[in-house]
Amino acid sequence: MSWYNTEGPLWDFVLYSKVRYIRNVAKQRFYSDADRNRAAENTARLDSILQKNGFRAEKVAAGVTAQALSLLEKGFVERDFVYSDKPRALYQNEPCNLLISLGGDNFISISSIVSGASIGEARNMAAGAEELIDREMPFAYLEGVGYLSPRISDCGSGAELSSALYLPSLRLSGSEDVSSLAPHDMSLRPMMCGGENLGDIYILSYVPHHLSDEESAVRYFGGAVSKIIEKEKARLGMIAQNNDKNIFESARRALGTLLYSSALSEGELLRLLSDIRLSLCTSESRSEDLPRVATLNYLRAEGLSASVILASGKTCSSQYDCDRARAALVRGYIEHKNEVKNVK
């Protein structure tokens, strides 16, 4: 997915916007309860529909693999997709920023991830794909309940609007009351890595009601993102006024550490990238030598543990090897390719 190498609105603060629909097929058992033959039959039927419409099938090996964990780390698939023992498949449509996974608790998960604060664009893409599948394979739906899921609590719109937000002021100001930033019907939670909140990234998510107008829901969500960013900018402005030199110095130190360290842990990488990003947000005039936001986003996504293990051909037999591979990846991009181009 190319969300990390194309610029979008409010890109300094919004890493990506994502819309996800979970759907199940009407008139048959839910996928998690279906027998393997029926599951394979449905997967094959959708495979032909998607391949006919420009989707490319990704190879997904069975079992809990590094590849599946990497997809989970990046937010491309759900947890139950990774741990599913049924046939599963993954399809991409790169030009349309679409990712469709089959398998898991809910059979079909349609995601659109786009750069920056572009939730409307993400929704249009996801809705197009959803209608394409629905025409060929009607979804389970019940008046008054909405789209049906094997989990009773998942019934409803089956939609989730979310954005990954970079909010460093929360750490710098020592504020811990994250939930107060989001409207009461949305959730704002830290993006966890290895059980810790690292890199000052937060996920704002909203599940609209299935009886409500979806376009209004998209506008409402977009408004909430804008408000959070406005507040963040105001807080960062105050921090920069008092602390500008330190922010820039810490960015320089972070860049030096990234360039010269021989091994990097996941947590260390995310913290250092956050320091550089903070400098870009608060003091743009002095950022010529620093990597671009695209590079930071790319390194953030590719520097996660499962991704590193996958990138180095599963040769990382120890944590130290993994940390070395991560440091080499970071050096390669900062020294030789300060800009991420044609990332696949």
């Binding site: 199940n24 309860d33 629905d134 739906y141 009773i152 107008d213």
Partner: protein, 179 residues
């Protein structure tokens, strides 16, 4: 509602017969008349579960809303979905069901009456469902037209409208038979 067989106990088993007639029995009568198996499959941990005759299942497939389920009192825990055999108590305990029809069969137990059918104009719904709503609306409109055609003694128009209604109703039945 009392059991239609013994007229004494509270009815807790509801089902449709081959001709579509609806019946209500207490669990004792249902068991003695062979509507509930006193023995459960070993895979279900020994809990007694309703036995559903094939004829009843066929009737249910024609009309999923004529559901066989036990809805009240002490027997509620023994209710099962006639399509996938998911027991109601398991569904409630685990928060999971086995098939979309479970939501129809158990709707009054899983979702209290607070559900509102009011839908905003831009709310998302499957295209097949939209088509079904359009079909139902068309049939209602045609029925109004047929009434006025009969009143004005325009029998030729009434016959055309009747054929249209039959075609629309037929397409709906064909769609339901896919279940």
């Amino acid at each position: 509602m009392n059991c239609e067989s013994c007229k004494n106990k509270h009815a807790s088993v509801f089902f449709a017969d081959e001709s579509g007639g609806r019946h209500a029995l207490c669990s004792a009568c249902a068991e003695s008349l062979g509507k509930i198996s006193p023995y459960s499959p070993a895979s279900e941990g020994g809990a007694a579960r309703p036995f559903i005759p094939q004829s009843t299942l066929l009737a249910l497939k024609e009309d999923p809303h004529v559901a066989l389920y036990q809805s009240a009192g002490d027997d509620s825990a023994r209710a099962v979905c006639p399509y996938c055999a998911t027991p109601l108590d398991t569904a409630i305990e685990k928060g999971r069901v086995g098939c979309p029809e479970c939501y129809v069969v158990f709707s009054d137990r899983l979702f209290p009456s607070s559900l509102s059918p009011e839908r905003a104009k831009g709310a998302r719904m499957p295209s097949s469902y939209k088509a079904e709503i359009d079909r139902t609306r068309s049939i209602s409109e045609l029925k109004v037209k047929i009434r006025s055609a009969v009143e004005s003694e325009n029998y030729e128009l009434a016959a055309t409208l009747r054929d249209k209604i039959r075609r629309l109703e037929g397409s709906g039945r064909a769609a339901r038979k896919e279940i």
